[in-house]
């Protein structure tokens, strides 16, 4: 007998050596013990990652029983539960002993008779990894050598489980490192192309932590998360996600994405309340969501220093394994690496945009300077080649020549203003100025140009005196009026000056092209202009300079515009200490 027990142990050790998964270990231990002990029913429960005790292997147990007892309720009045709770084995040799300890088992529905029972916890160090139990159809001796053998089986099983856990941990850690290394590698290959960077991240996450990944970014100065990239292992699901998210952008602070973006705290939802999610989805996208349901969601912030620049979301079907704490950490690691790549690509793009604007500007400036220069050159050459010229004609030609010179001077002044304004604040010389008088003077100066553009300018208002830098204010009104004539040719223009409390309000209303909504954000930017194809003359600096001046005067310049109807520029200036 002793020899047979030794052989059994040797066999178990051999078999366990090649068992690396929990299922394999359970089957080796339960299979061998069940047969050797002659049990009617044998079960092994192992602790899962989430802490629950799950059925790992069984013999002689009905399918119904397996289904209803897949997860062990540790509070139930059952032998194995008590063994796991207390850590003490149970050796119940006959029915009387069983019923004495567990009276409820008298009413057991198991078909096989329950005449003896052995149950033992699986310990590794301080930790209980699970338990195994065997029931017998006849009273059993359960003598010391048998107890010792079962105890040794339990010990071997626990060791094998710990080995498998370590192996699994190692394997996951390696996979995690591989994913991170791969992500870093691909991010570096994507270089500074933002689209490529985002696409890389999404693909990597969706393929490695199936099944879906989306990246949302907060545009600089924006308050809404915009969908930047999406990938799903199923292209049809991807198209649906794209449509849904594009149509329902998340505002910062609202919804799951918005909260992550606001707080910088990730959101880990291993089990999604799908009905609630469905209810929160626009009706037209519900059929898609029902077709590709979401079981788990992970949302992590993309952080650069203490700013949140966006979010990465991973989600998966309910049939896939739940996201674990490790998945959560992995996604945050990926996000941390990605955030810098995204930020770099963004800065690079902004830099490229600035450079393009500057290059365009230089080319426009060249063109703008050349037009009056051409006129100047031709006018001077004509004067030189004319054999004899009448005095009144000469005066006319010289006046024209002077006008070209003034135009060149105005352009050069604008260019120098840009340099000065870019370097620092404007130096202002405030004096008492009547805004109405100044505005009317400027309108007078523009009469001829307005007539040529078929614009009738009407002045309204009363005298408003304030402390302003006359030449700078002149520049602002000139810029705004000049634009009104340029873009409102053929239609009347109204200039209005009025006092409103402690402010002076100057409005210039044209009935021209209007400003395209897409251009409204940037018309006050340097080198920007709403009319992109450069068919209108000018440096595209006027409004930028005007805003700098109005800012320096402590005022505000705003506009209202409707495409095809016209534009009203509104300049509000504090009167100052008059």
């Amino acid at each position: 007998m002793a020899e047979e027990r030794a052989r059994q142990l040797q066999l178990l050790t051999q078999r366990l050596a090649s068992a690396l998964s929990r299922e394999e270990i359970g089957n080796v231990v339960i299979g061998q013990a069940h047969e050797y002990l002659g049990a009617t029913a044998s079960v092994a429960y192992f602790e899962a990652l989430d802490g629950t005790m799950c059925l790992a292997a069984s013999r002689g147990v009905t399918a119904d029983s397996i289904r209803t007892r897949a997860i062990l309720d540790l509070d139930a009045p059952l032998p194995l539960c008590r063994v796991i709770r207390t850590g003490k084995p149970l050796w119940l040799r006959n029915r009387a002993e069983i019923l004495d300890e567990f009276p409820d088992l008298a009413a057991t529905t198991e078909s096989a008779p329950l005449e003896a029972l052995a149950a033992i916890a699986l310990h590794f160090g301080e930790h209980t990894l699970g338990g195994i139990a065997f029931s017998f159809p006849r009273p059993m001796e359960l003598d010391e050598p048998t107890r010792s053998l079962v105890t040794t089986f339990a010990l071997q099983c626990a060791q094998a489980l710990e080995r498998a856990r370590l192996y699994d941990q190692e394997r996951r850690a390696r996979a995690r490192l591989e994913i991170l290394a791969d992500t870093s590698d691909r991010l570096s290959k994507a270089q500074l192309d933002l689209t490529a960077v985002l696409d890389t991240i999404c693909r990597e996450v969706a393929n490695r932590m199936p099944e879906s990944c989306t990246v949302n970014l907060v545009p600089p100065g924006g308050d809404t998360l915009e969908l930047a990239a999406v990938h799903h292992i199923d292209p049809e699901a991807e198209a649906g996600i794209r449509a849904t998210l594009n149509d329902t952008p998340a505002r910062i602070g609202e919804g799951m994405l918005g909260r992550v973006a606001e707080t910088g705290q990730s959101m880990f939802v291993p089990i999604v309340d799908f009905q609630a999610m469905l209810a929160a989805t626009k009706p037209q996208y519900r059929p898609h969501l029902e077709r590709f349901p979401v079981g788990g969601i992970l949302i992590v912030p993309l952080r650069v220093a203490d700013r949140v620049i966006g979010t990465i979301t991973a989600s998966r079907h309910p049939s896939r394994p739940r996201y674990t704490v490790e998945d959560h950490r992995l996604l945050q690691d990926i996000a941390d690496r990605s955030a810098f790549a995204i930020e770099n690509a963004r800065l690079f793009q902004a830099e490229q945009h600035a450079r393009r604007l500057r290059d365009d500007f230089l080319s426009i400036a060249g063109h703008e300077l050349r037009t009056p220069l051409t006129a100047l050159q031709l006018q001077v050459e004509t004067l030189r080649s004319a054999p004899a010229i009448k005095p009144e004609l000469l005066a006319d030609r010289l006046n024209k020549t002077l006008r070209h010179v003034k135009r060149l001077d105005a352009l050069i002044t604008q260019l120098l203003d840009v340099t000065q304004l870019t370097r620092g604040r404007l130096a202002l010389t405030p004096e008492r100025v009547d805004a109405q008088q100044l505005a009317f003077e400027i309108v007078d100066r523009y009469r001829e140009q307005a007539r040529r553009a078929s614009c009738e300018i009407t002045c309204h208002g009363a005298s408003v005196i304030g402390m302003w830098d006359r030449s700078r204010l002149d520049q602002v009104i000139t810029n705004v009026l000049g634009n009104a004539i340029k873009y409102g040719a053929g239609h009347p223009i109204d200039v209005r000056v009025a006092r409103e409390g402690t402010h002076c309000r100057i409005t210039v209303h044209d009935r021209g092209l209007g400003i395209d909504p897409s251009a409204r954000e940037r018309i006050f930017d340097r080198f920007e202009r709403a009319i992109s194809d450069r068919n209108y003359g000018g440096l595209g600096l006027g409004l930028w300079i005007s805003r700098q001046i109005v800012d320096a005067l402590g005022g505000k310049i705003t506009f209202e515009s409707k495409a095809g109807v016209g534009t009203t520029f509104d300049i509000a200036l504090p009167l100052g200490d008059v």
């Binding site: 050349r370 037009t371 031709l378 004509t382 030609r397 024209k400």
Partner: protein, 121 residues
């Protein structure tokens, strides 16, 4: 008989000066502020011997004008001298089917020589 030159340029000062120079040199001059005005003139006014065309104009620019002109058999044959500050001239000329261009700033002699190529002396 004086040859007529049509000046198409949105810049009033330049248009005015070109007109002075050409008139001083003995040409008759008509002018238009953009491509649309130019097409109107060509379809209703006296036929010019040559068109002096600016490239960048609002509403209807040089390129739009030129395609419209070429599409209209009645005016397609009128030669065009392009006036531009742009550096990609060759590309632009091929695109517009224009043989002669003037780079801004241009001097009086070059301007007159370019116009005389298309006007009987």
């Amino acid at each position: 008989m004086t040859s007529l030159v049509l000046i198409v340029d949105d810049d009033f000062d330049l248009r005015d000066t070109l007109s002075d120079v050409l008139q001083d040199a003995g040409f008759a001059v008509a002018s238009a502020g953009d491509g649309i005005e130019a097409l109107d003139y060509l379809r209703t006014g006296e036929r010019p011997a040559v068109i002096l065309l600016d490239w960048m104009m609002p509403r209807c620019n040089g390129s739009q004008f030129r395609s419209e002109q070429l599409a209209d058999p009645a005016i397609a044959a009128i030669p065009v001298v392009l006036l531009t500050a742009d550096t990609r001239r060759e590309e632009k000329m091929a695109e517009l089917g224009v043989e002669t261009y003037l780079a801004k700033p241009c001097d009086r002699e070059t301007l007159l020589a370019a116009i005389r190529k298309y006007t009987p002396t």
